[in-house]
Amino acid sequence: MGYNLLEALNVQIVGSGDRYLVLAHGLGTDQSVWQRILPLFTPSYRIILYDLVCAGSVNPDYFDFTRYTTLDPYVDDLLNILKSLGVDSCAYVGHSVSAMIGILASIRRPQLFSKLILIGASPRFLNDEDYHGGFEQGEIEKVFSAMEANYEAWVNGFAPLAVGADVPTAVREFSRTLFNMRPDISLFVSRTVFNSDLRGVLGLVRVPCCVIQTARDVSVPASVAEYLRSHLGGRTTVEILRTEGHLPHLTVPALLSQVLRRALSR
């Protein structure tokens, strides 16, 4: 594993600080999504970048359809990376699915994470009796069948929707990374993500968390941030970004950097 894993998932360490900061990208993107955030943190952190196994930049052969059926293998990957890098404490910034992964990882190894920063995080995307996750099961299925039918059309429609704010470069960038994913993997991972439900386990988190949420996010309703705040076990703060969309690191990198910096310093 070890070295191979680092290679397979394109693990990179940049920056010159003494503290570790993990930047974990979300679904449909890869580590390049952080490039506008990076410069502000490289002087003070050693930043660990890696690609989720489902990212387009990872050789699709590494994606084992029998293994990555839940989020746990992703957590394994993350923990393995940190282990083989010899990291014993780090701050973690995770977007979307990586936020979920971060939560699970911190449950398993609470001492490893000094702080979790969760961008656009949602413990559960589907609605439930007394929970509003933003999606109905049926809607999701519809989306999945749209993805199956014509991935390209779906990406073209979904990218601007997810980006939310009208930032053409962001849409372009997101579309690019989304396209890079092999459609079947993308669909499979989406299913995995929508299938996940972290609500019951949030209380196991002991690490202080910061939930960063944009004012309007197609994937994550505002109530979710509040849900996270009240259910996460650690000391948790919520930051609402005054922008729209699911990808603040693409649309408003400067603003997000400020918030990140603030959150990390707390």
């Binding site: 002087p43 499979f188 439900d197 209380g203 400067a254």
Partner: protein, 1121 residues
């Protein structure tokens, strides 16, 4: 990192390698930087016995004739290849990452499916297009078969798109590749519902399994992952009892126990093999609900017996599964029954450790916590380990009603519809119109921007109807903006705009890059079909409508053949020139009609700012014969009908336009005849005529405007000769460039950078430029990027000048937003951004984008076009070439930084006696006292003065050159170095960081601007000398020669700053004569002045000037002590 060709070849069989070589050759021929999948496709299609082509033949739709469809495919591959950037290199273009990934993928899939590989091998050997047999898995390196390579290349989205454009589905092709030709395509892969097929599932589908669920092996294996995790917990050395936590935990638990009882192999092996699952869930239920403990007792006995047996046999064990933990938490009396059970289980655990596992599930940690509250030791007693469970199998299936996410696609329906909607115009056009790569790219960028602009109505409001005069001829891009403002969406308009852009870039391409004109002969028929009479009529009609709607055209041209499409496009006058000239050759006959139609449009342009050009274009039957109907190559004719927005006519200058109309009609006669004679010449003359049509603003366009600009600037800033010279040169050059219509594709043309000192001079030139270019000094947006986030400088003399006026309104906004807001307010203006080198990250980013795209984005992502603006960025820093200018002035008495710290204090005159130490100035009795040699008279104030000077120094460093590259070289020696450092520290991380990282940034930005202009430092010392002279002569005149006058240095600084700032050249002299002279005279009267008296002109600290002298920022009155 691209892979070298030789490295890639070693993974390939001979045949595949030769195909790859072909691909590389294709890439090399087109001088592309890398060999991509597209090149591979192109090569594969052209191979003599092409497997891919054969597969396409079988996969293609029967709707089109096959020849046509292949032609379409070749075209779309060709066009896609054209879009790739080219580069000059003699070596073989290396293999791109995507293609390399495809090779790796195919290798892997070959490895995964050796048996199907054999099978396919058999099948295909029956085939006439037999694939070369290379039994590769025997070899050390698995060599990739051509077929597998093709299969994985087809996975590439770009490739599937290309195929899609030609009407192929890559999944069909894949099926055709995999299946032997005889097999008919299975009906479940119907055309309408074609599932994507990838290598991973391809073989599965071949082996005949049902449809599509094969994508989800997880589904078949149940909660494989969860089970694995559970067993991991149980198997660990400690052998803990897993308590599954999570909403899906109960399902996961059920799935696990089910698979255990079913004895599914593989879930638990090793020492965990052969476990027996006993559920006490039902019994617990009974206890809790009915208080019936009997059954539970029996059950537990049974468990015990089993465990004993296990102990005896030395293997196996029991998993005691208590179901949902919620069942055990029960408030009230019945809850009492639970605690004995908990204890009982605990004791069982105690006895049969390693043989007994408890297992349960709980919804959420909260419930578990509650349980723990009741039974604090349970975690230890039961040996529990919490296991978060985040997903379960059951959520995979379920009923699927309608989706709201899908519905929410609808707003994009117009813009991001099914690919065919948007693509067909795009792809269709792309095929027929030759553009070179560069232009194509630019064109695509703009189309992109256009698409986006359509969705952002917010962008629209900033465009006003009239174009800026200085860019009137050039700002083609504003056309888009106008369109957005005018047309609230409407796909027809979108496509029209797309067409317009395309047209534009074709023109540019043809003109600039000399791409050969497309199908010349085709144009003739279309021209002759245009009804000449209707031209003027059309434009009249257009005039009446407030916004040109496409439907109008169509109604006006009812007799058009169905193949003909009419597109409208906003456009600008000069376009007629190039477009005519490029089609002129050999088609003189038709220019009669062109001109008849065109002339009225030209006439009308005098009173309207935005002409509409009309492009009738036709798809000729001869073309449609060659290509499939969906990709009709339209032929562009350059026939134009210009009309106007009625909405812009509010500023019509009727009389003028009448004159011009007459003039132009006369002109047109001559032009048309000349067209007959010599199209080359006429096109040139036509250009002349079009510039004649806007003579009302013509003087500003005067070719010799360099001189006028220079004059205007020099009037304002007399001391910066060189800078004024280069600014006016740059501006007139850019203007000329725009006029001659060559420069529009160069972003950054309207950017200038002012480097070096003399902040006021820079600002002055900017405002003078605003005056010259836009007619008013008000058309200046001025922001100082360095002052953000700092405290204002209290009482600074510059404050009143509003040099950093955004300070007040900046609360809670990012700088980018502030700039954007200003830009929106003044769409036609000179934008003057000071100290860009100190801009924060957000602004840096925005500026970067702005210079590259011509649009300034704010932090919300809205974009403002800056094409109508002149952007001036300044930096007090010095680039390498300019260092000596500063260094030469190292020992100036009044460096600019000091002047920038000048305060707007009230002044006063003090009277004292001549101090012994300083003595009287030998020279004319006036001198400037510096802080160091301040006379004893002011010793009481000395401390204070010093502090003030120091603090002003600090401020200066803020506004001035604190972070520039050679700060120490011109550091004021009065200014302690330590404090400077401290100041640096005080500003903290972000500042020092940004100065580091931004250095590269702004140098890069500055490298993109049209011109860099270096400013000389303002010579304050000279002015100071002049002032001193002036004052002393004034002093002699009013109070006599024997009285000495000491001028506090701070006052001197103040006066210098005022002189610097004042618009009038003689302002300071006037002030000295008026105000100072009067005060001195008053002082002379008031005090009995003796030769020993020393008058001191000092600043009255703490008292800001209330009344200003006219024309200068100095007090109108000087206090007398």
């Amino acid at each position: 990192m691209p892979t070298s060709v030789t490295a890639a070849r070693q993974f390939l069989t001979e045949e595949t390698a030769s195909a790859l070589d072909e691909a590389v050759a294709v890439a090399r021929r087109r001088s592309h930087a890398q060999t991509t999948s597209l090149h591979a496709v192109s090569a594969l299609l052209s191979l003599p016995s092409s497997t891919l082509r054969e597969a396409c033949t079988r996969a293609r739709s029967s709707a089109y004739p096959s020849r046509l469809q292949f032609r379409a495919l070749e075209l779309s591959v060709g066009v896609s290849l054209d879009r790739l950037p080219s580069s000059k290199s003699d070596e073989d273009p290396p293999i791109s990452n995507s293609l390399m990934a495809a090779i790796k993928r195919s290798q892997a899939s070959q490895r995964r499916h050796p048996e199907s590989y054999h099978l396919q091998q058999l099948h295909s050997s029956n085939n006439s297009n037999a694939i070369a047999t290379g039994c590769s898995q025997a070899q050390a390196i698995l060599k990739v078969e051509l077929k597998y390579l093709i299969l994985s290349i087809l996975d590439d989205p770009i490739v599937s798109r290309v195929f899609g454009e030609a009407g192929f589905r890559s999944c069909d092709i894949k099926l055709a590749l995999v299946r032997p030709p005889v097999t008919q395509v299975s009906s479940r892969f119907s055309r309408a519902h074609c599932p994507p097929i990838f290598l991973c599932n391809l073989t599965d589908s071949v082996s005949g399994r049902v449809g599509y669920n094969l994508l989800f092996p997880g589904q078949e294996d149940g909660v494989d992952e969860n089970c694995k995790r559970i067993s991991e917990v149980m198997a660990k050395n400690s052998g803990k009892s897993p308590l599954l936590v999570g909403v899906c935990a109960i399902e996961a638990l059920r799935a696990f126990t089910e698979s255990l009882t079913k004895g599914k192999s593989g879930i638990l092996d090793g020492d965990l093999a052969g476990l027996i699952v006993i559920s006490i869930e039902k019994e617990i239920n009974e206890i809790v609900n009915e208080g019936n403990e009997e059954k539970m007792g029996l059950k537990l006995k049974e468990v015990e017996a089993t465990l004993e047996k296990c102990n005896g046999s030395g293997g196996g064990g029991v998993v005691l599964h208590f179901g949902d933990l919620k069942g055990l938490i029960f408030d009230g009396a019945l809850g009492d029954f639970v605690s004995p059970l908990v204890l009982r289980l605990a004791s069982l655990m105690e006895v049969y450790r390693r043989r007994l596992w408890l297992m349960g599930a709980v919804d959420s940690v909260e419930i578990y916590r509650k349980f723990c509250d009741k039974f604090p030791n349970v975690e230890k007693d039961w040996d529990l380990q919490l296991l978060p469970i985040t997903s379960s199998k059951s959520s995979f299936d379920g009923a699927y009603p309608k989706s709201s996410l899908m519905r929410s696609f609808v707003p994009f329906g117009g813009l991001f519809p099914t690919p065919s909607d948007l693509k067909s115009p795009l792809s269709g056009w792309n095929q027929s119109i030759p553009r070179c790569n560069l232009c194509n790219e630019k064109y695509e960028q703009e189309v992109d921007a256009l698409k986006k602009a359509g969705s952002a109505v917010s962008v629209a409001d900033q465009y006003s109807e009239n174009l800026p005069s200085w860019l009137r001829m050039a700002a083609v891009d504003t056309g888009k903006g106008e369109d957005v403002a005018k047309t609230k969406a409407g796909e027809s308009m979108l496509s029209a705009k797309v067409f317009g852009l395309q047209k534009k870039w074709n023109d540019i391409c043809q003109r600039v890059h000399c791409t050969p004109t497309f199908t010349k002969s085709d144009i003739n028929p279309s021209m002759s079909q245009v009804p000449i009479v209707k031209g003027p009529q059309f434009s009249m009609d257009q005039k009446q409508t407030s916004n040109g709607d496409l439907s109008i055209n169509e109604s006006l041209f009812p007799n058009q053949s169905p193949g003909r499409q009419i597109h409208m496009q906003t456009n600008f006058l000069p376009k007629s020139t190039p477009s005519i000239s490029c089609t002129s050759e050999g088609r003189n006959m038709n220019f009669h009609s062109v001109l008849h139609v065109d002339v009225p449009s030209v006439t009308q342009q005098t009173d309207k700012d935005v002409p509409w050009f009309h492009h009738p274009q036709q798809s000729l039957s001869s073309c449609s014969g060659r290509t499939p109907s969906s990709f009709v190559p339209p032929v562009t004719t350059d026939l134009k009908l210009g009309t106007i927005y009625a909405s812009t006519t509010q500023e019509s200058k009727t009389t003028k336009s009448l004159n011009h109309r007459e003039h132009l009609q006369r002109f047109s006669g001559s032009v048309s005849t000349e067209f007959d004679a010599n199209s080359e010449v006429t096109s040139y003359q036509f250009a002349q005529s079009s510039s004649c049509s806007v003579p009302s603003s013509g003087e500003q366009f005067d070719l010799g405007d360099y001189k006028s600009i220079k004059k205007a600037l020099a009037e304002k800033v007399g001391w910066q000769d060189e800078a004024v010279n280069s600014v006016s040169q740059a501006v007139s050059q850019v203007r000329h460039k725009y006029r001659s219509f060559r420069g529009i594709n160069c972003k950054g043309d309207n950017w200038l950078t002012f480097l070096g000192p003399d902040r006021v001079g820079k600002k002055r030139i900017a405002s003078a430029l605003a005056d010259v270019l836009f007619g008013s000094q008000e058309c200046l947006v001025s922001l100082d990027l360095s002052s953000q986030g700092k405290l204002g400088h209290p009482n600074s003399i510059f404050e009143c000048k509003e040099l950093n006026r955004h300070d007040e309104m900046s609360r809670g906004k990012t700088v980018s937003d502030l700039i954007a807001e200003e830009l929106r307010k003044k769409p036609h203006s000179v934008v003057f951004l000071e100290n860009v080198d100190k801009a924060d990250y957000g602004v840096q980013h925005s500026l970067d984008l702005a210079i590259r795209t011509g649009k300034f984005p704010d932090s919300h992502g809205r974009e403002i076009s800056i094409n109508n603006m002149v952007l001036i960025t300044t930096s007090s820093s010095i680039t390498k070439g300019n260092v000596n200018v500063i260094c030469g002035n190292k020992d100036v008495k009044f460096p600019e930084r000091r002047i920038l710290g000048a305060k707007n204090w009230q002044m006063q005159i003090l009277v004292g006696s001549a101090s012994d130490d300083a003595g009287k100035s030998n020279y004319m009795g006036v001198r400037v006292t510096t802080v160091k040699e301040a006379s004893t008279f002011t010793s009481a104030n000395k401390r204070k003065t010093r502090n003030a000077v120091e603090s002003s120094e600090l401020e200066k460093t803020d506004t001035g050159e604190r972070e520039h590259k050679v700060p120490r070289s011109c550091l004021d020696l009065n200014f302690p170095v330590e404090e400077a450092d401290e100041e640096d520290m005080g500003l903290g991380l972000s500042k020092s960081e940004s100065s580091e990282s931004s250095e590269n940034w702004w140098e890069e930005l500055f490298s993109q601007v049209y011109k860099k202009i270096h400013f000389k430092p303002f010579d304050f010392d000279e002015v100071a000398d002049k002032i001193v002279k002036e004052i002393s002569s004034q002093c002699q005149r009013t109070v006599g020669t024997e009285v000495a006058l000491e001028i506090d240095e701070e006052v001197m600084v103040q006066m210098l700053a005022a002189a610097w700032l004042s618009d009038k050249k003689e302002a300071i002299e006037d002030w000295v004569a008026e105000v100072l002279g009067r005060s001195l005279a008053e002082a002379g009267q008031k005090y009995n002045l003796t030769p020993q008296s020393v008058l001191k002109l000092v600043a009255y600290k703490g008292d800001v000037v209330k009344e200003q002298a006219p024309g200068i920022r100095l007090p109108a009155k000087i206090n007398l002590n």
